[in-house]
Amino acid sequence: MIAQQLFSGPSVDWWALAPYLIVVGGALKLMVIGSLTSRWPKGLTAWVTVVIATVAAAAVVLNWRSIGTDGTSSLVNGALAHDRLAAFLHLAILVTTALVALLSDGVLRGTENDGPEIYTLLLAAAAGAMVMVAANELIVMFLGLETLSLAFYVLAASDRRRAESQESGLKYFLLGGLASAFFLYGIALLYGATRTTTLTTMIDRLRTVVTVERNDALLLAGLALLLIGFAFKVAAVPFHVWAPDVYQGAPTNVTAFMASVGKIAAFGAMLRVLVVALPFYRDDWRPVVWVLAVLSLVVGSGLAVVQTNVKRMLAYSSVSHAGFMLIGVEAAGHTAGEVFPTAGMRAVVMYLAVYAVLVVGSFAVVTIAGGAGSDINEFDGLGSRRPILAVGLTVVVLAQAGVPLTSGFVAKWGVIQAAVDEGSYWLAVLAMLAAVIGAFVYLRIMVSVWLRTPTAEVERESVPMLTGLVIGLAAAATIAVGVYPSLLLNLVDALPLTHR
């Protein structure tokens, strides 16, 4: 009787929750059915994963119109935000997951790892990422982060034949656990400062409580710890040390997944906490983001130059890409919480969607041409052995460098313009310098592919059909968005800039 009075459950909009339910339910079904039945026909698991991701993406699209543009609606008693920022990032996550599932089939087919496990983990990580970018509750965000991270740890260690894979799994696990603990401590301190873990309640409390009564010391300490957690997850310098080792050691299809979906999830959550929930403290967190951005740009592109392993090269370049996205966050920080904020947030979201596709495409080529060690020499003469593959690689790599008429240029333009609009000229200048240094890395790959001849006789790489499909799709999307930026810009412009 009393229990009934106390626990009246929150009203749940099941239709709006459908994308999450489809992904989680699909992952569980895939695992259970996959382990109860005998071996599936080759490639079926990957296609089932693609179908699950596509259906979930369709549910997101169907929900799109019903979402209020003022960005105030939430689901399950305020646990999840129901806004277009979340919906757009969900689409990016689901599309990337589908691409990585296809890529994984190319890598895993015929090995002992071919089975439902890897695909289940991909979907579980995608579900965690979806929760993370939509979380309106810090504990829910933490749960999303952990769902994502735990799946990543297992995926990184999943190649049991290679000692490097296990080593990278353990390293990622220990450092990731450290970062999660910092993140959680930050949540606890924010709770201590504001008496709530719900972001929308938090901003109301901070708005109404006068400055003297605010517990600023606790709140700032919590903010700092949260920033450490986020900086670790996006691999921003100085919290990037795990990234090169883990990217190199993990199976390449998993690396592609971590670099794409991991970044989307972490930046989505970061935007929500910093810009949406804590705009009153923007003058406190913006300088920190500035420093992280500068360090990531300089160290990321600087260290990428001296690498000889392509996966490490791409890992450091992903650190530098994180720096570019942080520029957008910094720009968003100038006007966070105002009635007419500037486009920093849109620039970050745009960059995330573009980068996710580029990085999956790049690592897809590495799965074919990288050989066992992914050394840069393995790419020598790829242009003469596999010209079409080399063209695909050229497109995605030049896009990462930010060459005009590719999507990478549109993305970089967005964040640099956002920085210039806000008067962060130094950041813009540094970003362009970093882009130039970064271009050297990508040109080095190009030189190896097109101009150099291998020292020894190399067997012609075999290209699995699905991997080829992924590279083709990534390259096509890169060119399409590069030539017609409005394809993506119109979608991004539909995102509301204010969330309260």
């Binding site: 740890y153 080593e167 353990l170 220990l174 656990g177 450290l178 603990a181 949540i187 606890a188 201590g192």
Partner: protein, 101 residues
């Protein structure tokens, strides 16, 4: 002198600090792993201390979620550690240095 909320918060901060230092200085993967658990439980202590001070149930509920997450981390972490130790018995974190550059 009765313990106030601050005492518990200071204790939690100390435990968290011990966990961080332990993770940095110890070389056995299992001990490092225990340090992470120590950090999570230190956070739990601060959650409960705050919840008690605010007489708010929210902080105490959070602890349950954290416990579940910690348990899930144990499963994954031990799985990875065991698969490594099976390959190389007695490996410390310094032995795992194939990835560098």
């Amino acid at each position: 002198m009765t313990p106030t909320t601050t005492w518990y918060l200071v204790l939690a901060a100390l435990l968290f600090g011990i966990g961080v230092v332990g993770l940095m200085v110890r070389r056995n993967p299992l001990v490092m792993f225990m340090c992470i658990e120590l950090m999570l439980n230190a956070v739990n202590l601060s959650f409960v201390a705050f919840a008690r001070a605010f007489t708010d149930i929210g902080g105490q509920t959070a602890v349950f979620f954290v416990m579940v997450v910690a348990a899930a981390e144990v499963v994954v972490g031990l799985g990875i550690v065991i698969s490594i130790l099976r390959r190389r018995p007695g490996a410390s974190i310094d032995d795992l240095a194939e990835l560098r550059g």
